[in-house]
């Protein structure tokens, strides 16, 4: 039996986060942990030791950019692939700051279809579909 991949979903939108969890776990391939408060993201991530992190960009308090910075400073978490999900549509709207730390992370625009999300996650995990 193959081991399930662990995915951490950080999104302040509770219904959305739990829907993502349901879908991912529904495939039978993933264990999903949800965190709605960005301020706790780092601690939860350190405990959960995810294989991939799904991060909402716009959140009250610390936003996705801030959170990804913290992950970056953590020796273990900096190696974990990060997928950004955002309600912003284009990279131009990101503004100049923050984009450099984001380099290399995949961005997804909301609303996203599950199969597209899944494809993206599998790609980042190096899973051959």
């Amino acid at each position: 039996m193959k081991t399930k991949k662990r995915i951490l979903v950080i999104d302040d939108d509770k219904p959305l986060a739990s829907m993502v969890k349901m879908n991912l776990e529904g495939t039978g391939d993933y264990d999903v942990c949800v965190e709605n408060r960005s301020s706790r993201a780092l601690r939860v991530a350190q405990d959960f030791e995810p294989d991939l992190i799904l991060l909402d960009y716009i959140m009250p308090g610390l936003d996705g950019g801030d959170v990804s910075c913290r992950f970056h400073e953590d020796p273990k978490l900096s190696k974990v692939p990060l997928v950004m999900v955002t309600a912003l549509v284009s990279n131009c709207e990101m503004g100049d700051d923050g984009t450099s730390q984001l380099g290399g992370h995949t961005m997804l625009a909301k609303p996203i279809r599950f199969h597209a999300l899944l494809a993206c996650i599998e790609k980042r995990l190096g899973v051959v579909a």
Binding site: L16, M19, M22, N23, G26, L88, G103, M107, R113, F114
Partner: protein, 448 residues
């Protein structure tokens, strides 16, 4: 005599022998009186002897004043009120009505102060009793009348300019108000769009879950899921349009584009949709290569919007023609909302694209409104009213022009777009905005 020469007389003085002679018309049926006036004027001491002509009736005077060749107009009229074809105030009014600009000095046999006041109120320059005439008085009155006339003419010109300016100001103001309105709609739209995306994403995920995990769904469940998916797609495309609409020009990525290629590409995209609706779509392309610099995706979107409008307007089928040609920008409508240094100017070389259909056309009273965001004549679910608003915005971000004109020789609508031609740099890519780009995966693809 030209206005300049007349001004010259006034500036340099009537006694100066080097200025042109003045031309007077004396409207008088009594030859004795005419000779007297003429005599006075000759002895008044003008630098050059004035020319004095006579008309014995108002009708004749009017004919002489209006028929005279423009290089020898009269400068001033001396008018007797009692003439064979008219008497009293009526005489002045008739002349005044026919020739409103010529200064008139009334020479009267009576000394009616009330009448004098009344006629001066109506624009007569002076009212002189015949028995008190003398050369000096006539000359003074004539000179002062001409001076006043000169100022009046200047004032008229100013008033005209003021009227014109007021009109322009009013137009600019309404443009500005329109631009401000759009601006606040934009900001609102962007806010709403972001706010709506999260719930929409939740619904999408829910749908995906149900679709994947509903074992043996019955027919109703299946069609429910399909309808819900369509609804989400529709909402997403509206949001997409709204965001597009509120986007700043930062997001326009300019590259050299060949207009004919662009049209060909758009035709491929809409071919199926046109065929399905029994609409033929024909391209009449310019022979030479028309290059512009623009954002390919956005311009494609503009043309698709316009063509889809035509298709939707021709329910029973019809014909669309897309014409491209080289042109020079005609009179520009200034858009105060876009205060750009490098907007197009009259005479600029442009690529013109005209998309015309033979549908019902757009009624004149709607022509001003169709570019307003959310203006639509289509039933809910069929039109959001953003198509043309977004398109116009995109064209403006390209510093181009977009307008709706009547199709020539048919009832249908014709949309004309003019984009600044870029004939010189055909191959060189034209600066992207220099930002590091992130890989952006958009889940839902907008299909026409």
């Amino acid at each position: 005599m030209e206005q300049d020469a007349k001004d010259d007389i006034i500036r340099r003085g009537f006694r100066n022998p080097n200025v042109p002679a003045l031309r007077f018309l004396c409207v008088e049926d009594n030859m004795g009186d005419f000779v007297l006036v003429k005599d006075h004027l000759r002895h008044a001491g003008f630098g050059r002897q004035p020319v004095v002509c006579c008309a014995s009736r108002v009708q004749v005077a009017v004919e002489m004043l209006s028929a005279e060749s423009s290089d020898l107009p009269f400068d001033l009229v001396f008018l007797d009120l009692s003439l064979p074809d008219s008497t009293g105030a009526e005489t002045f009014r008739r002349l005044r009505h026919a020739c409103p600009r010529i200064p008139v000095i009334i020479l009267s046999g009576n000394n009616d102060h009330d009448l004098a006041e009344e006629l001066v109120q109506e624009g007569a320059q002076d009212y002189l009793p015949k028995e008190s005439l003398n050369p000096d008085l006539l000359m003074r009155c004539a000179i002062y009348a001409l001076g006043r006339q000169r100022y009046r003419a200047g004032l008229e010109k100013l008033t005209q300019r003021l009227k014109q300016t007021t009109l322009e100001l009013r137009a600019a103001h309404s443009h500005l108000a329109q631009a401000e309105k759009l601006d606040s709609i934009c900001r609102l739209a962007a806010g709403v769009a972001h706010e709506v995306k999260n719930p929409l994403a939740t619904i999408q995920m829910g749908l995906d879950y149900l679709t994947a995990h509903c074992v043996n769904p019955d027919e109703n469940t299946e069609s429910t899921l399909v309808l819900m998916q369509e609804a989400v797609d529709r909402a997403d495309s509206v949001i997409h349009d709204m965001l597009n609409f509120s986007r700043s020009d930062e997001s326009v990525k300019m590259e050299p584009i060949c207009i004919n290629d662009l049209v060909a590409c758009v035709l491929r995209i809409v071919k199926h949709e046109c065929h399905r609706n029994h609409v033929t779509c024909e391209a009449l392309l310019a022979d030479d290569v028309l290059m512009i610099s623009g954002d390919l995706n956005k311009l494609e979107q503009v043309f698709i919007n316009i063509i889809m409008n035509s298709v939707q307007a021709m329910k029973a089928g019809g014909k669309i023609e897309i014409r491209t040609k080289r042109g020079l920008l005609g009179e520009t409508q200034r858009d105060e909302g876009l205060r750009e240094m490098n907007r197009m100017r009259m005479g600029d070389e442009v690529a013109v694209i005209e998309i015309s259909d033979n549908g019902p056309g757009i009624p004149d009273e709607l022509k001003n409104r169709i570019f307003e965001p959310f203006f639509t004549t289509k039933p809910t679910g069929e039109g959001t009213g953003l198509g043309l608003a977004v398109s116009k915005r995109i064209i403006e971000l390209h510093r181009g022009q977009m307008e709706v004109v009547n199709s020539e020789g048919s009832t249908g609508a014709c949309v004309r777009i003019q984009l600044k031609a870029n004939f010189s740099n055909k191959n060189k890519p034209n600066g992207t905005n220099g930002k590091p780009s992130l890989e952006l995966v958009t889940a839902t693809n907008r299909t026409p």
